[in-house]
């Protein structure tokens, strides 16, 4: 699953001790899959994602993102490209311990050769 999708999900279990968000990604199983950068799309996603959640998840998978958006972020193409990388190109399974029985990502098709 992409970090963009992971950023959309929250845990609905009553006993959740992790504030329901963000769901943990299995950092050891993360891979990078390059995809086309689309400026308008990333700008629009930047407005909608939970930035602190993304910063935390990025850190979990070993990538640093600034705690606050830089000034004029929506016009900073270098920054937007780094946002694209982290949202769209970093893929990893959700940690099974967290997601447990009711919600899992069925996006793990076997990799084609």
């Amino acid at each position: 699953m992409r970090l963009l999708t992971q950023n959309m999900l929250m845990c609905v279990k009553k006993g959740c001790t992790q504030e329901h968000f963000p769901l943990h990604i299995e950092a050891e199983k993360v891979e990078r899959v390059a995809s086309e950068f689309k400026l308008a799309f990333i700008k629009s996603m930047l407005e909608r994602i939970d930035w602190p959640g993304l910063v935390k998840s990025a850190k979990d998978v070993g990538m640093a993102m600034p705690a606050e958006l830089p000034p004029n972020a929506e016009n900073d193409e270098v920054f937007l490209r780094s946002v694209h990388d982290i949202l769209m190109d970093v893929r990893g399974p959700l940690c099974p311990l967290v997601t447990s029985s009711f919600l899992f990502a069925a996006a793990r098709a076997p990799r084609r050769a």
Binding site: M8, V12, F41, I49, L103
Partner: protein, 218 residues
């Protein structure tokens, strides 16, 4: 992509292997899927460059089609892991890279609005929800969930329920418009089906949230 090309591409999408009648699993035909998706994009531009959710995605034909028409984010949600496995295979068969159509297992009505935290991430929902023959009210429960996730929802409903659908939409704080009426030829799939196939008249409906409401049912 032309309508004809889209329909030809969607012919490759496989249907349910062991359909479950309780979930009203009927595959959306390539013909219907192509026509409704093409209309959504050509008339309203609600797919290309947008983030799209397919609720009750089943084998994924609508989500796949949305991606083929240029949606940048597509997330399919279904409660049935078996259907999602078929959807995953369909994405592979269509040579969609892993992640182009994300698939999530969740109950659309009970869980999706809560666990998909991002009201605001999705621009559009496309769906062919259960008609409510097995679980009464499932059709509009799906619409209610959809309106909590996106401001614009495209959905299919039995024409015989049109008045009910339109009045419920108003109660949910949305404008509803019947864009077209389609004939859906459903082949016999379940043991209770006595005829070889049956034609159902289906409304293709567009819902749009009114301003100042959050789609929460009153």
């Amino acid at each position: 992509m032309k309508l004809r090309e889209l329909e030809a591409a969607l012919q490759q999408v496989e249907g349910f292997r062991k359909p479950k009648i309780k979930l009203e699993q009927y595959p959306t035909s390539a013909h219907i899927a192509a026509h409704v998706l093409f209309e959504i994009e050509s008339r309203y531009g609600d797919l290309e460059g947008r983030s799209v959710a397919d609720l009750g995605c089943g084998c994924g034909v609508l989500g796949v089609g949305a991606r083929l028409l240029g949606a940048d984010v597509v997330v399919g949600v279904d409660v049935d892991a078996d259907a999602l496995a078929v959807a995953r295979d369909n994405c592979e068969r269509m040579e969609l890279e892993l992640g182009e159509v994300e698939l999530l297992q969740a109950d659309v009505v009970q869980e999706a609005p809560a666990c998909l935290r991002a009201r605001g991430i999705f621009d559009t929902v496309v769906m062919n929800p259960p008609f409510g023959t097995k679980t009464k009210g499932a059709d509009m429960a799906f619409v209610c969930a959809a309106l909590r996730l996106a401001p614009v929802v495209y959905s299919l409903h039995k024409s015989s329920t049109r008045a009910y659908v339109l009045s419920r939409a108003e109660a949910l704080g949305a404008e509803a418009e019947v864009l077209a009426q389609l004939r859906w030829d459903i082949p016999a799939m379940y043991r209770c089906h006595t005829r070889q196939s049956v034609d159902i008249e289906v409304d293709f409906v567009r819902f749009e949230r009114n301003d100042d409401t959050d789609g929460v049912s009153s």
